[in-house]
């Protein structure tokens, strides 16, 4: 008979192996699903694989992975401190709002010098995303409200808030009535390095490095890690648990806010409704797949950016619906959850 036995503590090697195997399993299961739907699975995977070896498509994959990578790096901070932030999506939207707000301030009120525009937009989107996350964090710290619910619900508020802005006060007066903000002037777009992907990946690597340094070398990072493992021990050690929770969630939401900044300033060039197709949710899968390691977030994020890119090709070449990629993502997610289980338990044969 097979029995489950609790592992004392999973080693890094086992975790890595289990995650890798579950990742392979996801490919297999997805293939199985589409096989039974009558899809040519070989072609299916060739189209996906092609994205990662064709330079133009790969650049596109990187392009679309930046908001995923950034919000995922934010989630690393939150998850490591045991704050289950499901609200990266909303924090992305707030980041977009803040960045667009700066542009509008500049264009209509001439409030900010051109040379400072990108920096002001970055700072504003960081603060806005962070503040959005802080709402949930302070509700948790003060009233003990579960952050999973609040962060999730704040997503919908954020999305509708953007709708309100672009259908209402922020609608481009010269936009023929479309629900769009004014287009961003050149100096407000993230194109340094020649291509938005280059600008985006530069920012992503920098943020990944900062998150790495935060947890590896800083006092705050140490407090957050202890808090994530046991808030009781953190309290015992005299750490200021409340302050750390607020600071950590500000950073977490702030980094996701930067993702929103990139969406409006690097990808679209203006604010429009539903500007994120769920980057903030994909980021959760990426964070788990990367095992909360900031460096691994980069390849994992690019993989999911590649899936989004492949989604377009699958639609046109295999006439598959747009939700195909969502199915793939979901299977990967379920496999990771399964992997978490096998990291905690091992199967032993017992008679």
């Amino acid at each position: 008979m097979f029995k489950l036995e609790r592992r004392v503590y999973p080693s890094r090697k086992t975790s890595g192996l289990v995650i890798f195997l579950s990742f392979l399993l996801a490919f297999f299961v997805t293939g199985l699903i589409f096989y039974f739907l009558g899809v040519n699975v070989v072609q299916f995977y060739l189209i996906i694989g092609n994205v990662f070896i064709t330079p133009v498509l790969f650049l596109q994959a990187v392009f679309r992975s930046i908001p995923i990578i950034l919000s995922s790096l934010g989630l690393v901070v939150a998850f490591r401190m045991g704050f289950w932030n499901i609200g990266a999506e909303g924090q992305i939207y707030l980041g977009m709002v803040a960045a667009t707000g700066i542009v509008i301030l500049h264009v209509f009120y001439d409030a900010i010098p051109i040379s400072l525009m990108l920096i002001a937009m970055g700072v504003a989107s960081f603060l806005a995303g962070g503040a959005w996350c802080l709402i949930a964090a302070s509700l948790k710290a003060k009233l003990g409200v579960n952050e999973v619910l609040t962060t999730l619900m704040l997503n919908y508020i954020a999305i509708l808030f953007v709708d309100y802005l672009v259908y209402g006060p922020w609608r481009d007066p010269e936009g023929w009535g479309f629900a769009l903000s004014i287009p961003f002037p050149d100096y407000a777009t993230l194109t340094f390095g020649g291509h938005p992907s280059v600008a985006g990946i530069t920012i992503s690597v920098a943020v990944a490095a900062l998150v790495y340094v935060l947890f590896k070398y800083t006092k705050l990072g140490f407090v957050l890690s202890v808090l994530g493992k046991s808030s009781e021990v953190a309290k015992y050690a005299g750490m200021s648990v409340g302050r750390a929770t607020l600071l950590g969630s500000l950073i977490s939401g702030g980094i996701a806010g930067l993702g929103g900044f990139y969406v409006v300033s690097g990808m679209i060039g203006r604010l429009r409704p539903r500007a994120s197709p769920g980057y903030g949710y994909t980021a959760i899968i990426v964070a788990m797949l990367a095992q909360l390691n900031p460096w691994l977030i980069l390849p994992a994020g690019i993989f999911f950016g590649g899936l989004l890119t492949a989604g377009d090709a699958l639609q046109s070449l295999l006439r598959l619906p747009a939700s195909t990629i969502t199915v793939f993502q979901s299977v990967i997610f379920l496999c990771i959850v399964l992997a978490e289980f096998f990291m905690r338990y091992k199967v032993v044969l017992k008679r």
């Binding site: 004392v8 503590y9 070398y217 800083t218 006092k219 705050l220 140490f222 407090v223 890690s225 202890v226 493992k229 046991s230 009781e232 021990v233 309290k235 015992y236 050690a237 005299g238 750490m239 200021s240």
Partner: protein, 509 residues
């Protein structure tokens, strides 16, 4: 006259990592008797009953129920055999009504509920025991005593004839306790057998027919209650002298380090756990605090460590009022706290040893700058501690979870004792059960450490469940009972037996 026992346990052995919870335990329960199972915390009472209830499986030994040898794999099995247990924390659904809770999981009720018939049965049982519960009341509306009655109701309606009650009176008022005991006597008269887990002596005599005393996983005696005295039971429960003696050097008492005046604090259940406690500890002095578990000792050290709010009274360290100043402030003042179950509450098992050493030290100037931590220095420091305290770890980078309980305790002590204030000797050491669960060698090591810091001039508060240990180590002993100080004396002034009586009776004998 041979009556078949309801339950017979023979040679039960249950081992957990690092500890033998039950060591060849024999136990029997006759129909119509209330059998008290007496012992200190961690004596193995609850483990034994969980085995009978099917929550644990014994490593060795046999279980007979009503004369038949049985294997109990789960609580479902035990209920089928007529065994029921009322746990310390109730297993009721607060938003549901009494009868819904009672019916939940009741197989006999069938698929379609005959509400009327069930309500009648519930009513009948209530009448038998003189209970006055409205079956349609929601459980959250009930008092604690009534909730307990619902738990009993659940068992009675399933025709359970072997009832296990795990410290049922710990949450009850004296009046509720009286009612419970009355109901237990009625059950016994009907031929049911009742096992009452307790550590309160007076309950044994009030309601028990026989008593079994457990200590450190073993049964030390089983006797009819009319053949023993309270003194005898206290001795059995608290135990005989230990085998080794420590060198205790003469140390001259210094100035008063800690003074607590009229201290009051609430316990986790929201009742007063500390009531008007006055204490004084000098430098170079060990103050031992004795008491049956749950009489306010833990709350006291928590308040002194800043982990629990004082609701009244003042705490002074070196004459400075530090009442409710918080953990961090007290750490900086030189207060060292080794909490109960320190390997759980003072360590993060999923972190590396060096990170556990850093838990408080990361704030120290020696090991950090404004924002960053100097891990290399901490690594070297941890290496030094590993050597100094003889911790079985080959490197500071191993996970704490890879270490045994004794070594983890050493890690806590090493960190706390040598490091809190940049190399200075701790001013006040609060050691709550630091030797609990340790083997003889490790126990001796911890004790000698405490004596060492006593010589160096620390003021020490020492909690232990082992009275002999307290008497041996302490310069002065305080007995706590029901959140108050029941007595204070020098260890030479009283015998262990006298102190044991003071602990269980709550006043000077």
């Amino acid at each position: 006259m041979s009556v078949t026992p309801l339950v017979e346990l023979r040679g039960i052995v249950k081992k957990f990592p690092n500890v033998v919870a039950n060591d060849h335990v024999d136990f029997s329960l006759m129909p119509g008797e209330v059998h008290a199972l007496l012992g200190e915390n961690a004596a193995g009472k609850t483990t034994l009953m969980n085995i009978l209830y099917g929550l644990y499986h014994p490593d060795e030994g046999e279980i007979y129920v009503k004369g038949k040898k049985v294997k109990i794999r789960s609580p479902a099995d035990s209920i089928k055999l007529g065994i029921g247990m009322v746990h310390q924390s109730f297993r009721l659904i607060p938003v549901h009504t009494v009868w819904e809770n009672v019916v939940l999981g009741l197989k006999e009720a069938g698929f379609i509920l005959n509400k009327k018939k069930l309500a009648e049965t519930v009513k009948k049982v209530c009448e038998e025991y003189g209970w006055n519960i409205d079956p349609n009341a929601k459980v959250w509306q009930l008092s604690v005593g009534e909730k307990q009655q619902v738990e009993l109701l659940k068992l009675l309606i399933r025709n359970v004839d072997i009832l296990i009650l795990d410290e049922p009176t710990s949450v009850l008022t004296p009046q509720e306790t009286k009612n419970l005991f009355k109901a237990l006597r009625i059950m016994a008269e009907k031929g049911k057998g009742i096992i009452l887990i307790t550590h309160k002596l007076e309950e044994v005599f009030e309601v028990g027919d026989r008593v079994t005393v457990m200590r450190k996983g073993k049964v030390v005696a089983t006797k009819p209650t009319n053949e023993v005295t309270a003194e005898e039971l206290a001795n059995l429960m608290i135990g005989r002298p230990v085998l080794f003696k420590l060198e205790k050097p003469e140390v001259k008492k210094g100035n008063v380090v800690l003074e607590a005046i009229g201290l009051k604090a609430m316990g986790d259940r929201g009742v007063l756990a500390l009531d008007d406690v006055n204490l004084r500890v000098h430098s170079g002095e060990i103050l031992g605090i004795a008491g049956v578990a749950g009489n306010g000792q833990e709350e006291l050290v928590e308040v002194l460590a800043g982990m629990r709010k004082a609701h009244g009274g003042r705490v002074f360290i070196d004459g400075e009022d530090v009442t409710n100043k918080g953990v961090k402030y007290l750490i900086e003042k030189g207060v060292v706290y080794i909490p109960p179950e320190s390997t759980r509450w003072a360590l993060v098992r999923e972190m590396r040893l060096v990170e556990n050493v850093a838990l408080k030290l990361y704030r120290s100037k020696d090991f950090s700058s404004t924002f960053t931590i100097n891990w290399r220095k901490l690594f070297e420091f941890s290496k030094k501690l590993i050597e100094e305290y003889d911790i079985a770890a080959h490197s500071p980078s191993i996970l704490a979870s890879a270490l045994s309980g004794g070594n983890l305790q050493k890690v806590v002590l090493a960190r706390e004792l040598s490091t809190t204030r940049d190399g200075k000797v701790p001013k006040l050491i609060l050691a709550a059960y630091p030797t609990k669960g340790l083997d003889v060698a490790a126990t001796e090591f911890v004790q000698s450490l405490l004596l060492k810091y006593r010589s160096l001039g620390s003021a020490i508060i020492f909690l232990s469940e082992d009275l002999e240990e307290i008497m041996m180590l302490s310069d002065r002993v305080v007995v706590m009972s029901r959140g108050r100080i029941a007595g204070e004396f020098l260890p030479t002034e009283k015998t262990i037996e006298e102190v044991g009586m003071m602990m269980v009776k709550g006043s000077a004998a």
